[in-house]
């Protein structure tokens, strides 16, 4: 029941935030912050009462009761649709990340939102609820429902509180996700129908559908439906074009949520559903997926360098970084998968920080154009130091989380597809080029006397410091995160072992 309470809490919290605006304009952000922290505390309490060994037990992917927690309520029994939520180490990790970045998002737009703050905070909380639902839903029908639910508040965040081109960006975001989501719906229905032919009864439950021997030619198309939906979200080259627009136009909190967690739902979907449900089809498809990943790494890095808009640059760097996730997932050995999971967490933090930086700059300077910045270090050394930190994190400096992620992906990938590893490693040069270029254009150079701005205050500095500590921790002692994800990855890897292209070392 805890999981249902968690999601319901966030949804109701959104309503409270919405109506609290009538009491006081300042109240919604406090409500929203309190709700998120309480939700986090709730998870912490829940985890504390679990025996410590349960985190290292390998969950049985076809039996929900072996997971940390499992909830199944019948919903539409005629079609085997149930309200089924379950959590294992991987989903726990992502749910915690979601709530933490939720706090960051709320903090990052603390003073930015003047128009209808209640509705804004409600949308933030509802999109958190949708994302958490995606990470927990184990019934494919319910999964699709949450997949769509998380889309709407984000659409509203962009369309209402976005910048100059918000209508276009929001529409583009919506159509890309919606269209690819429909492909996934087709796949989901086909899966249930095919499984019913084989098993004799309808079920949309993940636990029933795993390991069903689908007809191989049909499996390929079903896999493709999932793949496109998830890689649009990830986003992978060449489905990424909605992202720079959406990121650039979204309000800071929207960018933080979008980059920090919404993108991770795509990676999560691939890891949880797409590959385990269709192992053979995925295996055949792996070289293409990896080629897309490698192309994304390079293409994202080159285009990031070409940008003059701070937020667009960071958006393209996300495309590049998510390429590593795609590579890691389809390399499918332990190191690469752990790297991909690590990248979800580390990129979530580092990019959230960079978007917060972008928001802070825009709030102060009323522009995102880097050609109009320069020499900002002089006035705002604290902002400069933060920007420098997250820039070197994003270029993969060892000792910070992103390096651990990228190194694990690449070392795992090298054992499977050395040439893709070579191409992706070249992306590290590109990362250095665009990250340092960004710092040069904004904080270095001759100070412009017309651009006088306030440095970070306590709230912003505190938020930034928390993210820095998180990245250093992930970079120097990532083991807790690795240990949390390990049993889950072990359980998923059994669906696809010792295959020529996806086996690899270890």
């Amino acid at each position: 029941m805890s999981l249902l309470i968690l999601i319901a809490f966030l949804i109701v919290g959104g309503l409270i935030a919405l109506f609290s605006e009538r009491i006081n304009e300042q109240l919604p952000r406090w409500v929203s912050l309190a709700i998120t922290i309480l939700a986090l505390g709730y998870i912490w309490l829940f985890c504390r009462q679990l025996p410590i060994e349960s985190f290292s037990v390998i969950p049985n992917p076809t039996d929900g009761s072996s997971w940390l927690i499992h909830l199944r309520l019948e919903w539409i029994p005629r079609f085997g649709i149930a309200f089924e939520l379950a959590m294992d180490g991987l989903s726990l990790l992502l749910v915690v990340l979601t709530l933490l970045l939720g706090i960051i998002a709320i903090s990052s737009s603390w003073v930015e939102i003047k128009f209808k703050p209640g509705l804004f905070q409600a949308n933030v909380l509802w999109s958190l609820a949708g994302v958490i639902g995606v990470f927990l839903a184990m019934d494919l029908f319910l999964f699709f429902l949450f997949w769509e639910v998380m889309l709407i508040p984000m659409y509203l965040l962009i369309a209402i509180w976005g910048h100059e081109d918000k209508a276009y960006a929001a529409m583009k975001f919506f159509i890309f996700t919606q269209f690819s989501g429909l492909l996934m719906l087709l796949s989901i229905v086909t899966i249930a129908w095919q499984a019913a032919i084989i098993n004799g009864s309808y079920s949309f439950s993940y636990f029933d559908l795993l390991g069903v021997p689908f007809d191989s030619s049909l499996a390929f198309w079903m896999m493709l439906g999932f793949f496109i939906a998830f890689t649009v979200k990830l986003p992978s080259f060449p489905f990424h074009t909605w992202l720079p627009d959406a990121h650039t136009q979204a309000p800071t909190a929207g960018s933080v949520l979008l980059a920090g967690i919404l993108l991770k739902t795509g990676a999560y979907g691939l890891l949880r559903f797409c590959i385990p449900l269709f192992p053979e089809a995925s295996m055949e498809f792996a070289p293409i997926a990896m080629a897309l990943g490698a192309a994304g790494v390079i293409y994202g890095a080159v285009l990031a360098f070409a940008q003059t808009d701070f937020k667009r640059l960071v958006a393209y760097s996300s495309v590049s970084h998510m390429g590593f996730v795609l590579l890691g997932l389809y390399a499918w050995n332990n190191l690469a998968l752990q790297g991909a999971v690590m990248q979800m967490v580390a990129h979530g933090v580092s990019t959230a920080a960079l978007f917060m930086m972008a928001g802070a700059l825009q709030h102060r300077l009323h522009t995102r154009d880097m050609n109009q910045m320069g020499g900002l270090w002089h006035n705002a050394p604290r902002m400069g130091a933060c920007a420098m930190f997250f820039a070197v994190a994003s270029l993969g400096l060892p000792g910070l989380g992103n390096f651990v992620a990228e190194f694990l992906v690449l070392v795992g990938l090298f054992a499977v597809q050395p040439w893709f590893a070579v191409i992706a490693t070249l992306g590290l040069i590109g990362a250095a080029v665009y990250s340092l270029w960004m710092i040069q254009k904004t904080f270095q150079g001759e100070p412009n006397n017309e651009l006088v701005m306030a440095d970070f205050g306590v709230r912003e500095m505190g938020t930034m410091a928390a993210m820095m500590i998180a990245l250093i921790w992930l970079g120097l002692y990532p083991q807790p995160v690795l240990d949390l994800a390990q049993p889950v990855l072990d359980s998923l890897r059994v669906f696809l072992v010792a295959s020529p292209q996806l086996g690899g070392v270890s």
Partner: protein, 613 residues
């Protein structure tokens, strides 16, 4: 109790403190933290070295396991043998002197605290690099020093040129780092570990001398080494890196970081010994770089650029030594080079400091009497650099040349090349001394270096002069016995001793007594062209600009507006086109609706009829 971890901890802690307090500490405290932390580390290293000389024990320490996944278990762990002790002594010893010097050199800088934060961070990263017991931790230090180098080269961030030099330094070395990372992937995939000692053992077990895999792996590691050590073809970043404060150049771009490539090869020498073709490549890279950079140094007029090219050239000697298997000699030269090149850079810094930031040697002159301490430093430093007899540089360079001579087949060629380099070294170093310190004065110094600058200079003078007699404990590290130089004909040794003296003589005739003149040559058109060619570092920058930078920027500009979006826009356009066509049909005219309806019915009926017939 094993206190190894204290050594990198001191500077790291100080760096963190200085960063967190962000310049709010009083200057006095910053000075104590900044220089004191490195001094404390130096004291610890001295104690460690003392113990090490007594028992010769290898010391290991694991702080924690960094990552543990299957058999991928790199730790935050240290491995200290003779080689490490030598490197740590150089880093903390020379590093401390440079920090001390910086106290005065940077005293008036508004970012005094930021400077020491970066410098301390650098020392910590460099210590991690040499102390690491696995290649992943080594890579952490490797990239860490790279970032510190970037931060310090671009320290005076207001001038965009400094930022450009800093980015160039980072990106060019990153090209090498990518090769090195690939080498790490290959080594782990093939041998299943990145811990250096087990890795060497596994390589010796699984691979034969001359196998493809060790050649490939060492070639990739070599890529990293040439990037970091500014060797061909990635040497272009170092002369520009002189944009940073001069003590930075002394510490990072002379004494420590740029020699990391040499250290990497020495550390993994067992692997390199399995790959004779790579060893050959190392020797050739070293030889070509040392000649190319020595020629370039001859044509420079900026005092720091002369020293920068000289550094590239001297590291070329170290690579030559590595390539011919004379690892001890290479590390020995690394150490003596750290002494005399740090000395030269600090002395150059003193000149720049006292001469209103003047860099051009042609506008100096006659400083012998005006800056006596600096003159003495330069004299000793240049003598050691030119390898005049009984200076520290003489012993190390001599050992390298003799080892080169003994190499099979191409030994005499390598030796002759190295000798030519030594001749050029003597010429350019004394050209610098004669032009700057003799002749008539062009610029008057407005101050004298104080105690904090003089003491490091004097101590480094002593080291540069007698450092050649330090006995470094490397015999255990490099198992292969050092080549026996007693077999070499005495004539070879005599030529080696005489060459630098000949160079000194040439420099004297050209630049001091002016008995010989090359004015005619340098003023001719061809002479000018050659000078320009050499001054630009053989036009490597232009080459890379047109073959790499320009196409990259061009492609980026071309793609800036997202070509992939054209596909989606095309879909949208197609839909809109149909939309407009269909919209015509709905025009609200009854006549038109009736006509189309009749047409529709006719077609419908026709189809039914056709079907039923």
């Amino acid at each position: 109790m094993n206190l190894l971890w204290l050594i990198p901890m001191f500077p790291l802690l100080s760096a963190v403190l200085l960063i967190v307090t962000a310049g709010r500490l009083p200057k006095q405290l910053v000075a104590i933290l900044g220089a004191g932390s490195v001094g404390a580390a130096a004291v610890c290293v001295a104690l460690l070295a003392n113990d090490f000389f007594a028992d010769g024990q290898i010391r290991e320490l694991t702080l924690w396991t960094w990552i543990a996944l299957d058999n991928f278990t790199p730790g935050i762990s240290f491995y200290v043998d003779g080689l490490t002790v030598v490197m740590m002594s150089v880093i903390t010893g020379v590093g401390f002197l440079i920090h001390l010097y910086s106290l005065e050199f940077m005293a008036d800088d508004e970012s005094f605290s930021r400077y020491f934060a970066y410098m301390n961070l650098f020392v910590a990263a460099m210590l991690l690099l040499v102390m690491a017991d696995n290649l992943l931790l080594l890579y952490l230090g490797w990239e860490g020093v790279g970032v510190c180098s970037y931060l310090l080269v671009g320290f005076w961030y207001r001038d965009p040129n400094n930022g450009k030099a800093a980015r160039k330094a980072f990106v060019v070395t990153r090209v090498g780092d990518v090769a090195m990372a690939l080498g790490l992937f290959l080594l782990f995939t093939e041998l299943g570990t990145l811990d250096i000692q087990p890795l060497m053992a596994a390589a010796n077990n699984q691979w034969q001398v001359g196998d493809t895999l060790p050649i490939l792996a060492t070639a990739l590691l070599l890529g990293g080494a040439v990037g970091k050590s500014a060797q061909l073809p990635l040497q272009t970043w170092l002369p520009d890196a002189m944009a940073g404060p001069t003590p930075v150049s002394a510490l990072i771009h002379a004494a420590t970081m740029v020699t990391a490539g040499v250290y990497l090869i020495a550390r993994t020498h067992e692997l390199f010994l399995l790959a004779p073709p790579t060893m050959m490549a190392v020797a050739w890279v070293g030889l070509l770089t040392l000649l190319l950079a020595a020629f370039a140094a001859l044509a420079q007029n900026d005092i720091k650029r002369i020293l920068a090219y000289s550094t590239i050239s001297q590291i070329g000697y170290m690579f030559l030594a590595m390539g011919v298997g004379a690892f001890s000699a290479g590390i020995f030269h690394l150490m003596t080079h750290a002494f005399f090149k740090a000395l030269l850079f600090l002395a150059a810094g003193a000149i720049i400091h006292c001469l209103h930031h003047e860099h051009d040697i042609l506008r100096m002159g006659g400083l012998r009497k005006r800056l006596p301490v600096v003159f003495a430093s330069f004299l000793i430093g240049s003598a050691a650099l030119a390898a005049l007899p009984f200076t520290s540089g003489f012993y190390s360079k001599d050992a390298i040349l003799l080892s080169a001579w003994l190499t099979a087949d191409i030994g005499p060629i390598l030796w002759l090349g190295g000798l030519l380099g030594a001749l050029l070294t003597a010429i350019y170093s004394f050209r610098l001394v004669f032009i700057v310190f003799f002749g008539h004065a062009n610029t008057e110094p407005d101050r004298q270096p104080g105690l904090k600058m003089s003491i490091p200079l004097i101590l480094l003078c002593v080291l540069a002069a007698i450092g050649g007699w330090i006995n470094i404990p490397l015999t255990e590290v490099f198992a292969s016995p050092p080549s026996d130089h007693s077999l070499i004909a005495h004539s070879v040794e005599y030529i080696g001793i005489a060459t630098p003296l000949l160079g000194l003589l040439i420099a004297y005739l050209l630049f001091l007594s002016r008995a010989m003149s090359i004015a005619k040559l340098t003023e001719s058109t061809a002479g000018q062209a050659i000078q320009g060619f050499l001054r630009s570092g053989w036009r490597f920058d232009a080459l890379y600009h047109y073959t790499l930078v320009w196409p990259f920027v061009g492609i980026a500009r071309l793609c800036k507006n997202e070509p992939v979006d054209q596909i989606y826009n095309a879909i949208v356009c197609t839909l809109k086109w149909f939309h407009r066509r269909l919209i015509i049909v709905q025009n609200g005219e009854l006549r038109w609706y009736a006509t189309t309806m009749v047409f529709g019915i006719v077609i419908f009926v026709a189809m039914i009829l056709r079907h039923s017939l």
